[in-house]
């Protein structure tokens, strides 16, 4: 059996009062989604044979964060410059410079980590947002690692063809009568 390994990407989300850390792990049989909140952890297992689709699209986080940080950075930098030129107290403009530095640090971090995205995994019974795959780059890396496992479990994708076999709904088939069961009829235990 394949040893479990962690996939790229992590996320910390706030749900009400609690903070939840999200991680995604790869196993030989399933994809493990961990939600860690304090001392408690909830996991969801998505078996490779059950995964129907993975959808990943851009989210607003990257642009919003960049605009906000840039705005704060420019305002604080201008303010700090004005305070410096008008010979305000050293402590005051140092504090403003520190604020500008902090927003610059956040901005550069956001630019380094790259664009954000929202990734959703679909199975027949559920659709789950994979919060840990919130950055484009980590999503691409993670999906490249997941795909071989899903293909090994389900085979390569082929276009659906109209089935020649009768589709059965509640005992009534498209061909009329219910076919006899293939199970041998042993005596009831």
């Amino acid at each position: 059996m394949l040893k479990m390994s962690r996939l790229p990407g992590r996320a910390v989300k706030r749900f009400g009062w609690s903070l939840e850390r999200h991680q995604l792990w790869l196993s030989g049989e399933y994809l493990l989604h961990r939600e860690i909140s304090g001392y408690r952890e909830e996991v969801k297992r998505y078996y490779y044979g059950d995964i129907q689709a993975i959808v990943s699209g851009p989210s607003l986080g990257f642009r919003t964060c960049n605009i906000l940080c840039l705005l704060v950075l420019s305002l604080l930098s201008l303010l700090a410059l004005a305070m410096y030129l008008t010979s305000a107290s050293v402590t005051a403009y140092t504090l403003v410079f520190l604020g500008a530095g902090l927003s610059g640090f956040t901005l550069s971090g956001n630019l380094i980590f790259g664009p954000t995205c929202k990734t959703t995994l679909y199975t027949a019974t559920s659709e789950a947002q994979l919060y840990s795959l919130g950055r484009r780059r980590s999503t691409e890396k993670a999906i490249a690692r997941i795909l071989p496992f899903i293909e090994a479990a389900q085979g390569a994708y082929a276009a659906p063809t109209p089935s020649t076999e009768p589709v059965e709904f509640g005992g009534i088939t498209s061909e009329g009568a219910v076919p006899p069961p293939s199970l041998e009829d042993p005596p009831n235990p």
Binding site: K44, Q52, A53, G57, T125, P187
Partner: protein, 191 residues
Amino acid sequence: MRNTIVRCSACERALKLPADVGYTSLDCDHCDKSTDIWLFPALHRVKNNSAPQQVVDEGHSSCMNHPSKRAVAVCDGCGKFLCALCDIPWNNDHLCSQCIEHQQEKDADNVLRSTYIHYDRIVLLLAFFSIFLFYLGLFFAPAALFIAWRYWKEPWRPVPYKKWGMITYVTVAFLALVVWSSAIVVAIINL
């Protein structure tokens, strides 16, 4: 089984999926945002016998839970006859709901467990308190040792982990207990 509707990640509207490709990058009709989509064969898989069948004649065996339904499988755990509704495919086996429950109790691989408690972190916190909360350490240190002993064999995490951390915290809690006990004994003797 529900019909899976794949949605645009930006506007949440349903996307028109291509029929013939596994991977595609689609532009949403409503918001024009580009979305990457990976489709897998499970999307088009139709589960046969998803509805229980009626018993046709006396010669057929019936489900143990639903006597009016025809059996389609035999439980690999207990040998019960199961209809399509009661049959739960599990690791290439067919199990009934009772056997799944039993499996959950003696789940060696922990693949049915969905909640884990990080006991090692609780012991770490108690060991920390036992050092820094002075004489209250006399309560926290035994609590840490008790939790470590009680939940040593429980799985703390769903992923591989080492027990060295827990051993360290237990040692710290034990030392704290010894130190605080000695301090109290010395204080009593001095009095």
